[in-house]
């Protein structure tokens, strides 16, 4: 449909999954009120989870999941070669996500524990950007569909997209939530990238930082206030490293 007499592009998109739960892909077909228009505004070329038509003639690639095996690296390189725009979809693709937690363990022992004597190949979990160039990162566990919709709208018009500069606290406050710190619980809201509409603090569990650091996060002060409230460093670190968005900042 034309808008102001301008005909939008219909970008040819592909969705690929790597190591992850496929929850972010699922979001692409969630939000049923608009999903038809959403899928209609693009040309779905390759989306294995929902479609058997498979082609490599795509322009925009959405990558879901962390990278944890050599065959994935190869697959990723091939996709990068084809894609004009490559988008990391979700915290796993952006940071490694929860998958990165395994990096703290001895892989030999881990393999032994899960598969016994049978050896299964695995590499330390990495974010997509650690392997290839990424054009845009959409963090979230899972990604926020309204935000993905907006990003796709911007893709369709070929205009830049700017993530919010505010942390989660802003959208939490907008909903009249009682700050979970006041209730004696921990929350990463002050240092986490906003834009998710703060479902976690609002839902009662505090923010776990799935969207990674906010613009110019003040981690030092955050640790200070968490210390003052007598949260153990162990607990704080478990939180901050949960989705690995703060990797390298701790």
């Amino acid at each position: 449909m034309k808008y102001l007499g301008i005909k939008p592009k219909r970008p040819k998109i592909a969705v690929f999954d790597f190591t992850g739960c496929e929850g972010c892909e699922l979001q692409l077909v969630n939000k049923e009120e608009t999903v038809i228009d959403f899928l209609g505004s693009v040309d779905v070329i390759n989306f294995r989870e929902i479609s058997s038509t498979i082609s490599n003639d795509f322009e925009v690639a959405f990558i879901e999941g962390a990278i944890t095996r050599d065959d994935e690296i190869n697959r990723l390189n091939e996709i990068r070669e084809q894609a004009k725009v490559l988008i990391a979809l979700g915290s796993c693709a952006c940071f490694g996500g929860v998958n990165r937690l395994k990096n703290a363990y001895d892989f030999k022992k881990a393999n032994q524990e899960v598969y016994g004597k049978q050896h299964k190949e695995t590499l330390p979990a990495r974010a997509v950007k650690e392997i290839i160039a990424v054009d845009l990162q959409i963090p979230g566990c899972p990604v926020d569909k309204p935000e993905v919709e907006r990003i796709v709208q911007h893709l369709v018009w070929d205009v830049p997209y700017q993530f919010p500069a505010y942390p989660v606290c802003f959208e939490c406050k907008q909903q009249y939530t009682t700050c979970v710190f006041e209730l004696g619980q921990l929350c990463l809201g002050p240092v986490t990238q906003g834009g998710c509409r703060a479902p976690c603090p609002v839902g009662g569990s505090g923010c776990w930082g799935c969207r990674g650091p906010a613009a110019d996060p003040h981690l030092k002060e955050f640790l200070q206030i968490a210390d003052e409230r007598e949260f153990s460093r162990k607990e704080i670190n478990e939180r901050l490293s949960f989705y690995s968005g703060f990797e390298g900042m701790l």
């Binding site: 505010y166 406050k173 907008q174 209730l183 613009a215 003040h218 002060e221």
Partner: protein
């Protein structure tokens, strides 16, 4: 101003009368904090029992009922190359019961900006005029410094204002609407004893405030523009914006537009913003006029205690201390102002 005496029993009838066909917003206890202290919020109530007029303060101010955090200013429907615009103002009458003096003063300040003669905001005015306000006196809240900024008493901006005299309320009436509403219940004229009791309560309240020196702030702000105090406090600021969200007077905002996936409808959305956010003053191309926390924090105080005074002869801050309470980093006006004064004296 007219005054009436209203028994507590009659006040209850009065609330019941309001509740009959008007949405009533009042302080409600919603939780207890980790230390066992009650947490209150201004929320719609269904019955008298839910209302807690003895509340000390609320986490959030009642500003959101006049300046919603998020509000659709207008919507567009597209028809080919052209479009139609629709604007709706909120007109459902409602009542807010239990506002303290500082919060009513805050509304008066907002009135100056948003209902004054330069570009009055119809969105604000329609909410303001359609809200019946019942204020109430109370003992100072912890940390509050409203007296220092002249916001502990209020003489207009409400329909009714109550002072608790134990078994009865001393009610100040400030509008025709308020007068009519009170006629729905039994009231009587105040006697000399009522007046005495009232003044006694007022005196008791007034005597409990800790003074904070603010009269020289507008000048001080200029003199201490380069002060180290700003950096000291700003170094703690996480730019989370919570202070502006709970503040009863912060009115800064941003506007953005959204369009539906099928390009058929769009909305122009206003959302209150905070001057502490990194991109508050960023323009296209990435130039940021206030890139660091120090200039942002300073600006907030500068606007409240100097700029606003320059424009309206009074500070914007009403001393409710909500920002100080909400700030996880414990950044708060009394401490900052005290620091500035101390530095100035040195």
């Amino acid at each position: 101003m007219l005054f009436k005496i209203l028994s507590k029993e009659e006040f209850r009838n009065f609330i019941d009368f309001l509740l009959k066909d008007t949405e009533v917003i009042a302080p409600k206890q919603i939780n207890v904090n980790a230390d066992g202290k009650a947490i209150y919020q201004f929320l719609p109530v269904q019955n008298f029992e839910e209302i807690r007029l003895d509340y000390e303060t609320t986490d959030y101010s009642a500003k959101t009922y006049f300046l919603p955090y998020k509000e659709d200013l207008s919507s567009c429907s597209f028809l080919g190359t052209i479009w139609d615009r629709e604007i709706k103002y909120r007109i459902q009458p409602r009542a807010i019961v239990g506002l303290h003096a500082c919060d009513i003063n805050a509304l008066l300040k907002l009135d100056k900006v948003l209902a004054g003669d330069r570009f009055p905001s119809p969105y604000y005015i329609s909410r303001r005029k359609n809200t019946f306000i019942v204020g109430i006196d109370h003992d100072p809240c912890e940390g509050g410094f409203c007296q220092s900024v002249g916001a502990d008493v209020v003489t207009h901006g409400f329909d009714l204002y109550l002072t608790d005299l134990g078994d009865r309320y001393f009610a100040a009436i400030n509008s025709n609407r308020g007068f009519n509403a009170l006629q729905q219940v039994k009231t009587r004229e105040p006697t000399a004893r009522d007046n005495n009791d009232y003044l006694e309560v007022r005196r008791r309240i007034a005597s409990q405030f800790k003074p904070l020196e603010v009269h020289n702030l507008p000048n001080l702000m200029d003199i201490e523009f380069e002060s180290k105090v700003w950096k000291k406090w700003a170094d703690k600021c996480m730019s989370c914006g919570s202070c502006a969200m709970v503040c009863p007077t912060c009115y800064c905002y941003g506007v953005e537009e959204r369009i539906t996936m099928n390009n058929a409808k769009s909305a122009k959305i206003k959302q209150l913003y905070s001057c502490q956010f990194l991109d508050f003053a960023t323009v296209a191309g990435g130039l940021n006029f206030r890139p660091d926390r120090e200039t942002r924090l300073k600006y907030r105080y500068y606007h409240q205690h100097r700029g606003f005074v320059e424009a309206y002869e009074e500070p914007l801050c009403v001393g409710c201390y909500r920002c100080g309470r909400v700030c996880l980093a414990d950044i708060n006006p009394p401490d900052i102002i005290q620091d500035l004064q101390t530095e100035y004296q040195e």
